[in-house]
């Protein structure tokens, strides 16, 4: 599709677009429509929604700014991007708070109509940035978005509110023009979304076209951009958020194990989408129980696990704190259970809508008594599917609670997902006790794995009792015997450690030895890998080890760490994984790079830190 005024088309490898506005301006929808459109056009992508905790924070204030960043590219896109090439700002406050994320020379598209005195003052500007030369280093497009939106739909509606609500579509139309995008897919989405109200769909489509044709006439947009299709592996793809991928991974584990899925959960930002997603899939037999609180969420899951369901509970940091005692109950009863923690900024309520990796200590150690659990972490929106599946596999095959750590950045962010075939996923074999098994005892174990049998209520000949009191080894009666407690404590620990025999070796990106090993875990993989790749291209001897398996650590961890002159561990916390490594792998000296700002790493701050270390003697 080309406009009337043919302009120069420039090919680019990748581009970052950020949509920002008031929290009621529809920035999340605009961003999603653009990223879905880009995905269908064959670009690889990663997105990052950045929104306030309040649903409608005070109008036109910095606190109320909601944003959605999309990174699209021809090559593999690891992150949602550090700085943006195009910033769409719907009001003064959103421009003010996001200008620092715009590249030098970036195109700024602002709703010129929104820059009235009141809004400028509310945003904290001393002078109108549209008039002074503070934006001189950017390509500023002063688009009268509000008035032109109203004008474009005057034959369809005169309702002021409708016009106000459709402004975001005008901005989307401008973006479609800049990146030479076709409307077709987006129009189809709008038609489906507003099936019951075709007029709204018509209005939105009209406004998008108006934005597009406006852009076609703006001289400041001297050129448009083409981002060629990504060179992705062959296959069928879809766009997916980390939270939906997590939900689907759990469903996949249920199907592969033959155990019905039970989710006991309580709404909490940013984990709620997993609960909402699973509630949609009753046709797959998923039983979803929205509990009265976090504790009931996990306790109902433990009850369901006792009866033979693949039981899960989903939460975020404060919720994990509330679940601590019950996780201990799952540890001592040795029942399978997956606890998903979509981490957010803490402590306490902290930063509910921002991302952090600060629950690692809690996941590893946050229980009374000696209470080991398996801890694993996903590292991208799409691999949340595989790590949720893996969490289920380990929980059921090893009869243990597994904590899966993701974070708000992964959970809300979206990515292209190559659709797997269920037949290609590994089978899950829960150790279910057979009826009337004469050898069954609640704590009799497989000598190899130390895993006990899962004896389901209703099964003939296996009536037994388990619970939170310490039990006698093998026979499972209540026991306070000192030696027995030692034995049971050691067995529970050994059982979890044995999981190391069943997980893959730690992988390395780069050479096996060198000057610097960069270590990271969880949701930071994209940014850290991008930074390492920058240095590798410069010929520096830097490699990257990104950990998904934390408790237990992969068996080759020591071997990998030992081959580098320096090791730096990068985390979005004050150093939780690095201290865990200092404890578990004390042979090495660890440097650390930490950030606790509720924001993901940016590639440039990482490369700067790595270069500094490489220069130091």
């Amino acid at each position: 599709m080309t406009g009337k005024n043919k302009k120069q088309i420039i090919e680019k490898e990748d581009v970052v677009v950020k949509f920002v506005g008031d929290s009621g301006d529809g920035m999340q929808l605009t961003g999603t429509l653009f990223s879905d459109n880009a995905a269908l056009a064959g670009n690889d992508l990663a997105t990052f929604p950045d929104y306030p905790a309040e649903i409608r924070a005070p109008h036109n204030t910095i606190a109320g700014v909601s944003g959605f960043q999309v990174h699209i590219g021809t090559n593999k896109v690891h992150t949602s991007g550090d700085l943006c090439d195009v910033l769409v700002a719907m009001n003064p406050a959103s421009l003010k708070s996001n200008l620092k994320w715009a590249k030098m020379g970036a195109t700024l598209i602002v709703d010129f109509d929104s820059f009235d005195d009141k809004a400028i003052e509310k945003a904290g500007y001393k002078t109108n940035p549209m008039d002074d030369d503070s934006l001189a280093k950017f390509n500023l497009i002063k688009a009268p978005i509000s008035s032109m939106t109203k004008e474009s739909i005057k034959e369809l509606t005169t309702d002021v509110k409708t016009a106000e609500k459709s402004r975001n579509m005008f901005a989307l139309g401008i973006i479609f023009y800049i990146f030479n995008r076709s409307f077709d897919q987006t129009f189809k989405v709008l038609d489906t979304k507003f099936k019951k109200n075709p007029l709204i769909s018509e209005i939105n489509k009209t406004v998008i076209k108006a934005g597009y044709s406006y852009a076609d006439h703006v001289e400041a947009l001297a050129s448009t951009y083409e981002i060629p299709r990504a060179k992705l592996d062959k296959g069928k793809y879809r766009n997916i958020t980390g939270n939906v991928a997590t939900a689907w991974g759990l469903l996949a584990a249920a199907e592969k194990s033959g155990r019905p899925l039970f989710l006991g959960s309580y709404p909490i930002t940013p984990a709620t989408e997993i609960l909402m997603e699973l509630a949609k899939h009753k046709s797959l037999g998923a039983k979803v129980f929205q509990a009265e609180d976090e504790i009931a969420g996990i306790c109902s899951a433990i009850g369901a696990s006792f009866t033979g369901s693949f039981a899960c509970t989903t939460t975020s940091g404060p919720g994990l704190s509330l679940k601590s005692e019950a996780i201990g109950l799952a540890v001592i009863t040795e029942l399978p259970l997956v606890i998903v923690d979509v981490q957010r900024g803490g402590p306490s309520t902290g930063l509910p809508t921002k991302s952090e990796q600060s629950d690692l200590y809690q996941a590893l150690f946050g229980r009374n008594g000696e209470a080991p659990v398996v801890v694993i972490a996903a590292s991208s929106a799409s691999n949340c599917f595989y790590y949720a599946f893996e969490a289920g596999k380990i929980a059921m095959e090893h009869m243990t609670p597994v904590i899966l750590l993701t974070d708000g950045y992964l959970g809300n962010g979206s990515q292209l997902f190559r659709i797997p075939k269920m037949a290609d996923l590994p089978k899950i074999n829960p150790p279910i006790a057979q009826p009337n098994d004469p050898d069954f005892k609640p704590y009799r174990r497989d000598p190899e794995t130390l895993v006990r049998k899962w004896a389901l209520p209703g099964t003939e000949g296996l009536r037994h009792r388990i619970g939170g009191l310490e039990k006698e080894n093998i026979i499972g009666t209540v026991s306070t015997d000192p030696q027995n407690h030692q034995i049971m404590t050691d067995l529970r620990e050994a059982k979890v450690q044995k999981v190391a025999d069943f997980i893959p070796n730690q992988k390395l990106t780069g050479e096996e030895n060198g000057d610097l090993l960069v270590v990271s875990w969880g949701g930071t993989e994209g940014a850290v890998l991008s930074a390492v790749e920058v240095l590798q291209k410069e010929g520096k001897k830097v490699s990257h080890a990104h950990f998904h398996y934390i408790m237990p650590l992969p068996k080759n961890t020591n071997e990998i760490l030992g081959k580098f002159k320096k090791i730096i561990v990068c985390e979005l916390n004050s150093g939780q994984f690095v201290n865990y490594l200092r404890m578990k792998q004390p042979d090495f000296k660890y440097l650390q790079f930490n950030k606790v700002q509720g924001l993901p790493f940016v590639v440039s701050e990482l490369t700067e830190a790595f270069n500094k270390i490489l220069e130091e003697k």
Binding site: G42, W248, E255, I302, A304, I419, G458, R463, R465, I466
Partner: protein, 344 residues
């Protein structure tokens, strides 16, 4: 609505089928022994397969119960029995789920779960052992301890208004509430059987004596000389009569319940209320649950047993409906649903 009933036993069961090999560690004289014995009498009569019984508990003296009956059992953590048993029943509606709990476990630390299991009407039978004291921690006041009681944590007497469990249960939209005393095994057996028959959450409050820390706490209700006048055994369809000679009765006057005597002031049986445990409106049930001596007798037996859809049945209905009507039959369907595209 279809009921997901529990599979019946093909053979006749006896008390011995539920005897545990564990030593019962309640104090001699504890009301728990009598409750245990009643349960062992009731379970074989219910007629379910013995493997389909599942006993869940929280923490406290009452909550040792699962170890003392030979069923599938789960001894949980303090206050959470209602949440755990909810998971058990929702996950497997074919089980007969029983919950043993106490006034501390369910009225204090587990209060939240307790009201919500009742509100949802999940088909679970709750035995609430109400001894009005914390026994296992050795004698602190509980949410049902009468105001003014001297306990280890109230040396000058409690200054808290106690819960009446029945009031709380009906306030939480309870569909079944019964009451019994631990000294009356016949009544306990009777109400537990009724509880088992009821579809939905059934709560049986058992006034239990703690010989060590709250001995004779229920003496106003249970003592030989007072019990006939201070208890009324409600029976469905029968007039609310009590007293040694069954000459006393309950009638409604000026929207209040009062005790009258047959033959006095022209009172006949016609004036006496007839008990209807199945009535949907909980108004009168609540008044009956709140009756306390000396002005009114304490109501025993099944006070309320109203029919409402159960949560667990509705879960199964929704799943059945979704399975029949959704295009997504398996994970491959879901993975390939919605917007997808092929790259080759």
């Amino acid at each position: 609505m279809e009921n997901y009933t529990v599979e019946r036993s093909k053979v006749e069961l006896t008390k011995e089928d539920f005897v545990s090999d564990q030593m019962v560690k309640w104090c001699p004289g504890c009301g728990g022994h009598a409750i245990l014995s009643s349960v062992a009498n009731v379970f074989p009569k219910i007629g379910y397969r013995k493997e389909n019984f599942c006993m869940v508990s929280g923490i406290g003296c009452s909550s040792r119960f699962p170890y003392y009956v030979n069923t599938y059992g789960f001894h949980g953590i303090h206050g959470r029995a209602a949440a755990i048993s909810s998971g058990v029943k929702i996950a497997n509606p074919h089980l007969s789920v029983w919950m043993a709990t106490g006034d501390g476990d369910s009225m204090a630390i587990g209060g939240n779960h307790f009201i919500h299991i009742i509100r949802r009407n999940i088909d679970i039978n709750i035995m609430l052992f109400n001894n009005q004291i914390y026994g296992l921690t050795k004698g602190q006041y509980s949410p049902t301890t009468p105001m003014g009681s001297i306990t280890k944590t109230s040396p000058q007497g409690t200054i808290e208004h106690p819960f009446n469990p029945g009031e709380l249960i009906l306030g939480a939209q309870g569909t079944f509430f019964a009451r019994a005393v631990d000294t009356n095994p016949k009544l306990m057996t009777e109400v537990m059987f009724e509880a088992a028959r009821h579809d939905g959450t059934s709560v049986v409050e058992i006034l239990e004596n703690c010989v060590i820390f709250a001995d004779k706490t229920h003496v106003q209700i249970t003592s030989k000389d007072l019990r006939d006048d201070h208890q009324i055994h409600l029976k469905n369809g029968e007039p609310m009569l009590f007293g040694k000679e069954k000459k006393k009765g309950i009638r409604m006057r000026d929207s209040r319940l009062e005790v009258v005597e047959i033959g006095k002031d022209g009172i006949t049986e016609e004036n006496i209320l007839i008990h209807d445990q199945y009535q949907q409106d909980p108004g009168l049930h609540l008044m009956l649950a709140k009756m306390t001596p000396p002005h009114l007798p304490m109501a025993m037996g099944v006070i309320r047993s109203a029919m409402y859809p159960t949560y667990d049945d509705m879960v199964e209905e929704q799943i059945k409906f979704a399975k029949e009507n959704s295009k997504i039959k398996n994970m491959d369907d879901l993975l390939n649903s919605g917007d997808t595209w092929i790259i080759d």
